[in-house]
Amino acid sequence: MKLANLAVKAVLLSGAVLTIAAVGRAGDIKGKVSVQGLKSPVNIAVYVDAIPGKKFDAPTEHVVVDQKKMEFIPHVVVILQGTTVDFTNSDPVGHNVYWPSISGNKKLTHNLGTWPKGDKKSFQFNDMGVAPLLCNVHPEMSGYVVVVATPYFAVTDKDGNYEIKNVPAGKYTLKTWSEDGKPTTQSVDVTESGATADLTVKK
């Protein structure tokens, strides 16, 4: 009897471990974005769209967007909804950051003001969408903050390659955003070993 109880407990324990292991197992989504009609596949945001019934807490760590040599660095940054972005100024000239809208909604326009080299200003992005970053003195400067619903995202490199790490197994919708191209959507099935998804972005 004692042995049977032990065996049952062992099976239950193993099952729990296996379940936990199965649940914790995640893979990476990798792939390449190719373009049609666009100059380059660089700086294209690739992200997992909202998962029904799933909410993610915003990270406590801030994301940094710098202004250096009259450029926003990085040019495109993707963040989870609710993330705070620190805008720093590494230039010896005055800059400011503002966006005229978020995904075309002008009610969400915001201007952070002006700050000198070494200082920073922060903003928590609670609204989904794309905020085009501008500087009102240097109109050639531009950048983008893409606010998404999940923490699973990446930005393509100069060759169009991307990698989204630690995506739990399951079926998802993969989306892209790019400055000059149309959004694309593709389903992806992520297993324990991950998934590969190549996408095409058209003008």
């Binding site: 009259m70 010896p92 005055g94 503002y98 003001g113 003195v137 240097h138």
Partner: protein, 496 residues
Amino acid sequence: MGDERFRTKVAFALFSGMMFIGMLLVSVPSGKAIPAFSRKYQTSCTTCHNNYPELNDFGLAFKKNGFKFPKDDEMFVKEAVVMLGSKATKEAFPEAVYPGEIPGTIPISFRYEGNLTWNAKQPEPVQTVGFVPRTDLFVPNTFTIISAGSFGDNLSFWIDDDISAGASGANGGLGDGWLKYSDIGRMFHLPKNSLNVRFGQFELDLPFTQARTPYLSGYDIFGQGALAQGGPCSATETVCQTTNNPFVLGTPQRGIEFGGYPNNGNFTWSVAIVDGTNSAYGLSNTLTTRNTKDVYVRVSQQFNLERDPESRHAIQAAGPTGPRDHTSIRLGAFYYHGDNEQNYGGSQFAFLNTISEPFYRVGGDIRFKYRKLELFGVGLVGHDDNHLVDTVAQTIVPAHAVTFTGGFVAGNYWIYPWLIGTMRYDFVNSPSDFINSVSEDQTRNRFSPGYQILLRANIKIVGEYQYHWGVPYTGATGLTQFYRPHMFATGIDYVF
């Protein structure tokens, strides 16, 4: 004889008036915007200009720094320069040529301006001596080539030339053409930028530039010369006055200028020694050579009124929506002294030696800036010594000086960064103009409201209406009558 002399005077007055008005239309400021810098730094014109060619505070600092970013210029340059020797060669000097640099690409820019003009109807007697059509659909104004930049540490240059002025194929002239050594004062352990030197042909350090004004027309007072009553001595006159000084403040001069901008650029000073002969600048009969040299002095002090000390000392103020020009008041004064010489070798009066007529121009200026508003003005007094020559008695005695006063008050308002409303009031009080029948009374005034629309950072539509003083003419009754040669001009202006 009397009637003939009167008609000659009227004709001369009308001709002078037409020439003057023509100069207002033709002598639109040569372009001073410099898209070559835009290419060098891969940045928009609006980095330095709030309404090209007018400079914002950053643009002014850029210019004062020898056309380099005020701080850490190298990190902003997107076009590689050509090094004329490695930096280490500095240590080898004087055994080697001191190293310098030239721009990586030839820093050439072009500016083109042309206007539609509408003119008030001229009375028939005026049409016979100087017809101007009611409307001219397009008057090509100027096509200017500009080259400017830096030759490395401390050396900067500027050359601009009107390839075409006033009409297709017409020859323009060199505007500015100079080389500048900045901060030569450090050799004498002076504060940074307190002593610079510039040599060549250049617009004087005027409180408000004539060559780089964004307005369609120049400031009248800067185009005022000095002419004794009755005009220059003619062959038929036995007694006449001598003053005949074509010098005008607003035209480029040739010489050397010392200057500086210590105290964070808020205090400026300059002393220029020039020929005083005006430049050809595409205008005829303005070049008069003489042995004497002239001196021009200017000082100004700007008071930044920003409350935040850090903002006050920065190149631009930290506005709530972005960097902007400082709220400020600038006060200045200037003085020009010259000695006009005539009758070299007895060319006009064989019985006289060279006639020397010292003259001066002295004035003050003020400028106030607050957010989108800019108000400014100049007051000026001109004084030329004068003589009375009796060709029969062969004597010369001093006569009443030829004097004039005048100036302008103006305002610009940025309704939007691309839409600017302008207004100016020019006034010139010249008894000589009145005696020479150029103006209705001793005062020539005009209102000039206008607009500037920046279609792009480098393209604009400009417009100006000029409400003028009365110009005399002889009517059908034989009496002197007056009419107002109002004018409206609007046109295009683009640089690349």
